[in-house]
């Protein structure tokens, strides 16, 4: 009898690229066939992607999952980093029909599911929206009894990933959606202008006694500021979960 894989063992698998969706000029969603993951995945988890050159050279990076567990396809939304090695390939070279090697799902702390309750408060900077969008999609099919709120900060309107879907949650699903534009905005922009501030974060997170479940994802300085304000305001730090990316100076 063949020996079963160790429980929880993460093996490399090949999936196919079904479709590529241009989200912004710098970001694309990679719509992929579902990997064979016995227990599926949870909103907020990520995968490791591995690329192999003709001479055997390999490069690996981690990407957050943007789809929800109940979706038909696995979606990774990737933003091109100009000096990157893997992201320019995924955004500019990959084509439908190509195969992609990945393993996962990885992580288990930065996840949300209905049993964790709410209010669900999501705070995203830039491509940090990706795992939070998975949570919102999952919320929209399983968790609607829980209030949901989103702050999403981008440099300009053209850099807002999943814009239509996110504003739709605000217009049709009762999610308190706050789009923030930090560098440029249309003249008639009704949302927050400039960087997020403590007043905005406090307002959306609600009073400490509400004990919201807060998920913050984005560049480190953004996450550090938002998480710091909330922890400082007397909230239970174990209900503030963060995921950070991007190098910082030392």
């Amino acid at each position: 009898m063949a020996r079963a894989a160790l429980p929880g063992r993460l093996t490399w698998q090949l999936v196919s690229v079904v479709e590529l969706v241009e989200e912004t000029t710098r970001a694309k969603s990679l719509v992929l066939t579902q990997p064979d993951w016995p227990e599926g995945y949870r909103s907020g988890q990520h995968v490791d992607v591995r690329l192999t050159a003709e001479d055997g050279y390999q490069a690996q990076r981690s990407y957050s999952i943007g789809s929800a567990p109940e979706d038909d396809h696995l979606v990774l939304t990737v933003e091109r980093l100009e000096d990157g090695e893997v992201s320019p390939y995924l955004v500019d070279v990959l084509r439908p029909g190509d195969e992609l090697e990945l393993r996962g799902p990885i992580g288990g702390y930065f996840v949300w599911e209905e049993a964790l309750g709410g209010p669900l408060v999501l705070i995203a900077g830039g491509s940090g929206i990706v795992p939070l969008r998975s949570m919102l999609r999952h919320w929209s099919t399983t968790g609607r009894d829980v209030p949901a709120r989103l702050i999403y900060s981008s440099r300009g309107l053209s850099e807002v990933i999943y814009r239509e879907e996110l504003t739709g949650y605000g217009e049709h699903d009762g999610v308190d959606v706050r789009l923030v534009l930090t560098r440029e905005w249309p003249e008639d922009w009704q949302g927050h202008r400039g960087r997020i501030d403590r007043a905005l974060v406090d307002e959306v997170a609600g009073p400490p006694e509400e004990q919201a479940r807060v998920y913050i994802c984005g560049p480190n300085a953004f996450v550090e500021a938002a998480a710091g304000w909330l922890a400082d305001g007397g909230r239970d730090p174990s209900r503030i979960r963060t995921e950070r990316f991007g190098p910082t100076g030392t």
């Binding site: 993460l10 591995r50 050279y57 070279v93 090697e101 550090e224 730090p237 963060t242 991007g246």
Partner: protein
């Protein structure tokens, strides 16, 4: 064997000494920050370092006493499970060997625990014999809170999640008790040279 990724050439940054880069890692020049929650800010007059658990007599040092322990300056390469490595990072701190001179224990494992609730488990022989430090300076400056200050564990031969930020103590245990990330599917030991990223690797 992995299949070739059509059209992938790689942007191979020349690494001065490729033999220092473990498999699957790339060289980073910044110092990325990865933390699962808010950064704790414990005032130094409330800080102490405690060795406890399966020991004859627990021992603890307040911040002032900790700074008076013999310290070492070390320059090491560090490797994060999220794929980046950073060469020649310079730290100052107290060797765990120096701390262990003050306790009697036969226990084979330790759990490092931190402000904010983080834990990570290590076999005792991976923190002794010059393999681990409690570091409070980075690059000649007090260790920044984002990087684990006032003090973090430094275990450079393992993936960097073992180098617990904001460390406050080591608890000796008879059995190996998985810590925070180890409970979420990360490898129990985390040797970057064996690419032990996740359970089963």
């Amino acid at each position: 064997m992995s299949p070739v990724s059509r059209g992938f050439l790689g942007r191979r940054h020349p690494v001065a000494d490729p033999s220092r880069l473990p498999p699957g890692q790339y060289l980073e020049t910044g110092f990325p920050v990865l933390s699962a929650g808010p950064t704790p800010h414990t005032p130094l007059d409330e800080w102490s370092f405690l060795i406890s658990g399966e020991v004859e007599e627990p021992v603890s040092w307040p911040w002032k006493d900790f700074l008076e322990l013999p310290a070492e300056t070390i320059t090491v390469d560090i490797h994060c499970v999220t794929k980046w490595s950073k060469f020649d990072t310079r730290w100052r701190g107290v060797s765990v060997d120096t701390l262990l001179e003050h306790v009697d224990s036969e226990a084979a494992y330790v759990t490092a625990w931190s402000d904010g609730g983080y834990t990570t488990n290590l076999p005792r022989d991976h923190v002794s014999d010059g393999k681990a430090w409690v570091a409070y300076e980075y690059d000649g400056e007090p260790l920044h809170p984002e990087h684990g200050g006032p003090a973090r564990l430094l275990v450079p031969h393992l993936y960097f999640w073992k180098s617990a930020k904001w460390v406050r103590g080591l608890t000796f245990t008879v059995d190996d008790e998985p810590g925070f990330w180890e409970n979420y599917g990360y490898h129990n030991l985390g040797d970057p040279w064996l690419e032990q990223r996740y359970q089963g690797d």
